[in-house]
Amino acid sequence: MSATSPHAATQPLTMSGAEVVLRALKDQGVEVIFGYPGGAVLPIYDAIFQQNAIRHILVRHEQAAVHAAEGYARSTGKVGCVLVTSGPGATNAVTGLLDALMDSIPLVCLTGQVPTHLIGNDAFQEADTTGITRPATKHNYLVKRSEDVARVVHEAFHVARSGRPGPVVIDLPKDILINKAPYVEAPPATQPHRSYRPVTAPDMAQVRKAVALLKQAERPVIYAGGGVINSGPEASRLLGEFAHLTGFPVTNTLMGLGAFPSQDPQFLGMLGMHGTYEANLVMHGCDVMLNMGARFDDRVTGKLSHFAPNAKKIHADIDPSSINKNVKVDVPIVGDAGQILAAMIQVWKEDSQPPMREALAAWWRQIDLWRAKDCLQYVQQGKIIKPQHAVKRLYEITRESGRETYITTEVGQHQMWAAQYFGFEKPNRWMTSGGLGTMGYGLPAAMGVQIAHPDALVIDIAGEASILMNIQEMATLCQYRLPVKVFILNNEYMGMVRQWQELLHGGRYSESYSAALPDFVKLAESFHGVGLRATEESQLDDVIREMLATDRPVIADICVAKDENCFPMIPSGAAHNEMILGPGQEGGVAGVTDEGKVLV
């Protein structure tokens, strides 16, 4: 096309700003946009209408557009793309943007804006979008000159996907979209950005220090997080290789699930507040900890002063601001997890010093004792379906089906049970809102996953309260024939809230009861989907099988025990070795101080 030639500037401009935007998106590899129209973005919708390269998915709420793009991004490793109008379109997107920021999900969100000459006048549907989204994005742009449109779109994608990934907003005034604008190609990868240059290659001296520490470790642990997933599937493969080379135990954060295969004998399960007994005691008792792409979140560390008290800590992270933020570490390594793991494998092999084989064997004997507690055991007796059992059967039956399976969740107890009882063997198969904990994330995220993987089985493990926060997306699923399965663990409570009220607030269940619930079966049908229900254990497997066999959107209303709590649990402000393992041990929370209670 003529506009891309080096002489573009001297030729008459043929494309509108909106067309330039679309062209740049296409050149950035965008195949699908999740969006919702409005006055300020009509020029982009007009340009979308006149092309076929990029597919537009019409959501029913802008928050859902962002979560859908998150699901798309997390399950593919690509940048998700969102388009919303000015004012309320942009403000509706904010929750999704912050969700993506907290969970390091690469997104580009285009927002419409009033024309440049009206900015600042309280014009119709004007919002200070760059102001509002500044703390909710990795970076944002307000494009005020037509000659900047293409450059900004290219740069936004680079910023979103490189370094620590995150959401980027481009605010586009309507006149900029309508006026003619020049197209420029993306700068070559060899041409660095003027000021933004994230480091990906590790400092080898730090890698050698880390390996030397690990070689002498008697009670090591690898604590791997979402950064391994961010790095791409090769990093997960290398994590496996490094773990097998060293024989070290591995635990994953909530965001890291799938980075290490759940079936691997070296896997300890998830760690943290609702992590396994063995994972948390290994963290507490270790002498050398390798944190690979995790951020020492408060859900993971528990009481900081008691966190891994005897451990030398190595922290590999692409974002220097993650290092020494919550926990002071001994050996920081800044860089990409994949590159760091490759370097560590190489140095480990070159280093002639043998690892501490005997000590390691003793460590594993200790770990096996902890594992023998079988901390995730539950008793399924009688007719009432235990929520844990529902997830476990869902896992087993989907495994038997042999289908490629992706799981998303809402937020609450069901999310934790999903993390505990559903196993993941590969990265990018598990999508959950970890950092922000956004109820309403799972259904739209599943939608985005299904768009990216049309033939896969995509299940949102939901709670009856959360699902209502973006239930309108059932319409989107049905419009685009996306056969997402919504598996509701319906306990008629905001269970996670109820659990905290039971354990920490004297059983005063203030406003945590899910009253006046819809009939989820009819609800599904009213959206042209399929509704199923299991009220007794004997129906559970059949409902799951029928759900899997249905090639349409399904809501399966699984009526589960109402008062079940999620264990193990490290109460707020407690240490890893002060875990409550199950009912009957709640006395353990009696020790929670007001200092602990203030924590979220």
Binding site: R134, H139, L142, S195, Y196, P320, S321, N324, K325, K328
Partner: protein, 173 residues
């Protein structure tokens, strides 16, 4: 103990940024959003084609917090360089102040005498007021203002600190 992680220290941080819309809001939003202290902040373009601005921030915190502040600043997309002058070696810190003193008679004489001692210049005078201009460290300006207070200190306008490392090494992009 210098390396006590719990110990507060003050830090003078120089930040070279792209001179673009919103960059100051990003920096200030970072400080307010994350609860960091700002004792002073100055900003102006510093290169010939006005593409680069230099922000000087005086802040305080524990060593861990100051390290965080620097890492958080460095991660902003339009930020080129972050330098902790407090660690970079001997450096100069200066602030400019305009100080208005209002009074009559003996007070005017005393004001001029003190100004002379502090090397403050008279940049405006009426029969009942002076405006003094002075540069120096924050402490020197504080001291001057304290002395002027009983004499008729009426208004103070200060720039906040600017700073630069001594010697030939230079902070550039």
């Amino acid at each position: 103990m210098a390396d006590d992680p719990g110990q507060f220290r003050s830090a003078t941080i120089a930040v070279l940024v792209e001179n673009e819309a919103g960059v100051l809001a990003r920096v200030i939003g970072l400080f307010s959003g994350r609860g960091y202290n700002i004792e002073s902040l100055t900003v102006a373009p510093v290169d010939a084609d006005r593409r680069l601005s230099r922000i000087t921030i005086v802040t305080s915190g524990t060593e861990m917090v100051i390290e965080q502040i620097k890492a958080q600043l460095d991660r902003l997309v339009p930020v080129h360089k972050v330098s902790d002058l407090s660690l970079a070696g001997p450096h100069l810190v200066r602030e400019l102040a305009l100080i208005k003193v209002v009074g009559l008679g003996d007070h005017r004489v005393e004001a001029l005498r003190l100004a002379d001692a502090f090397r403050a210049r008279v940049v405006d005078a009426t029969t009942e007021s002076f405006v003094f201009e002075m540069t120096g460290t924050a402490e020197k300006i504080d001291a001057f203002c304290d002395l002027m207070r009983p004499i008729g200190l009426a208004e103070v306008s200060r720039t906040g600190a600017v700073a630069i490392v001594r010697g030939r090494s230079a902070l550039t992009v």
